[in-house]
């Protein structure tokens, strides 16, 4: 198939950027979106041009490194699919495809399609953990977990931290990411001791970063490659209000 790509090119942080047009002939429908970019980059290198920078690692949809807005949607048109798992057969011969980096004040562009997502790391550092003695792994069945809780926690733990939620949100909010972590840990018995402190600290960090605030558009949930639901956001709100209004501080 033959495609026309419009890709955001930006030389470095704070530099001006622009959409640049590339004609990409001979694309196999079996390629992933990233493989298609690889092929384009090979051709650019042959021509002595600067290849397009983009983040990637596992290429199997589990690490959260990849991420770009493809035709106006984070990770592209296929639901619950990361850009690395998106295949070119979902496009048609002759298509024009727009490729842009995540757009959010909290995710400044480093180069081309690569953005700085360390704001997410700082939210995790603020409280996205459980303080336990990290000795030998305890016997798995010592602490019983109700089945429903285990499943809901697991659903939330599926978050790979790619940032598509922020990219899709018209407010550039990180609610879904933060809520997924809070839900994951807050549902487990091991997470109870720090539950209140965790939600207060993680929300405070989230708000200190340049993220916006939720207006319940639900765009995040719709583009999340892992299908994290906004019920996690409700849980975060509930835990936060409890901790702030009735908590022990």
């Amino acid at each position: 198939m033959n495609l026309t790509l419009y890709v955001w090119r930006q030389a470095g942080p704070g530099e001006p950027g622009a959409m640049k047009r590339y004609d990409v002939p001979d694309v196999s429908p079996d390629m992933s979106f990233l493989e298609m970019l690889d092929v384009l980059n090979e051709r650019l290198l042959e021509r002595g041009e600067e290849p397009i920078a983009f983040d990637h690692d596992c290429r199997e949809g589990i690490c959260g490194s990849c991420g770009m807005v493809i035709n106006g949607r984070p990770h592209g048109p296929q639901r619950k699919t990361t850009a690395c798992q998106l295949h070119m057969r979902h496009f048609r011969d002759g298509d024009s495809i727009y490729v842009e980096p995540w757009r959010a004040a909290a995710f400044p562009v480093i180069k081309d399609l690569v953005v700085d997502r360390s704001a997410f790391d700082r939210i995790i550092e603020a409280g996205g953990y459980i303080s336990v003695n990290a000795g030998a792994a305890p016997e798995a069945n010592v602490i019983p977990v109700p089945k429903d809780d285990a499943e809901a926690a697991f659903d939330a733990a599926a978050c790979i931290g790619c940032g598509a939620c922020v990219a899709a949100c018209p407010n550039g909010a990180a609610q879904l990411f933060t809520a997924a972590k809070i839900t994951h840990l807050g549902l487990m018995p091991q997470g109870q001791a720090e539950r209140q402190r965790r939600v207060v600290k993680m929300v405070a960090q989230m708000e200190d970063e340049a993220f916006g605030s939720c207006t319940n558009h639900r765009e995040c949930e719709a583009v999340c490659p892992k299908g994290i639901a906004i019920t996690t956001i409700a849980r975060m709100n509930r835990d936060y209000l409890k901790a702030r209004l009735f908590g022990k501080g």
Partner: protein, 224 residues
């Protein structure tokens, strides 16, 4: 102070918006239901308006309950707008560069028009107070004759049209706001998630339909 501290957080502001929003929803619902007395004729409607001033007697003097209600509503309006204003600024700053191409997948017309819809409602409320509460922009206002004020007021088609447009804006605002109320306060669950959506649809429809009916009834000559 902890409440000021709480309001500093964006999540706190959302909670304040939810609580003040639901207070205003309660008022709007009561206001619409009370206005249905328009269909029972002048005595009933004027009697109802007069009775509102005596609520709380003998503990409260004439008009006192009404003023307490007005102060509560005013506080709710001020906090609702203040929080919305501040959150809007935060959200604008969070997305400084727009996408060249963006498609919305899940947001609704109602969710995207909350801010401007709110502004329209604010202008409407100011006009409505001057029109039918204080009478200063009413062509022939008589303080004791609410029924007549409404009928004369709505006989002007331009005024009626503006009222109706504002009610549509209010309906959209309620449709998204009532649902958001539950979400912002963390009220969610498998059953509740279905119910809260239905609740929002039902009350947005009921309030909009009721409020639209008043100018329509006057314009069509059903009420005169």
């Amino acid at each position: 102070m902890w409440i000021v501290d709480f309001f500093r957080s964006a999540l706190g502001k959302k909670a304040v918006m939810a609580v003040t929003g639901v207070v205003l929803f309660g008022f709007v619902l009561g206001h619409m239901i009370g206005n249905l007395k328009l269909y029972q004729g002048p005595e009933k409607l004027n009697g109802y308006a007069a009775a509102l001033r005596e609520v709380g007697a003998p503990f409260l003097a004439h008009g006192e309950a009404l003023w307490i209600a007005r102060l509560v509503l005013l506080a709710a309006v001020v906090l609702h707008i203040l929080a919305a204003w501040q959150l809007t600024l935060i959200n604008r700053r969070a997305r400084p560069v727009a996408y060249v191409k963006q498609v919305s997948v899940a947001s609704t017309y109602a969710s995207r028009t909350m801010r401007w819809g709110g502004v329209i409602i604010l202008f409407f409320v100011v006009y409505h107070l001057l029109h039918l509460t204080f009478g200063s922009v009413h062509p022939d206002f008589r303080a004791e004759d609410v029924y007549r004020n409404v009928v004369v007021g709505f006989q002007n088609p331009v005024v009626s049209l503006f009222y109706m447009l504002a009610q549509l804006a209010l309906g959209l605002h309620l449709y998204h706001g009532l649902w958001s109320f539950f979400q912002s306060l963390g009220m969610s669950g498998p059953r509740l998630d279905v119910l809260r959506r239905r609740f929002a649809v039902l009350f947005a429809l009921v309030i909009t339909a009721g409020n639209l009916s008043f100018p329509l009834a006057v314009l069509s000559g059903m009420v005169s």
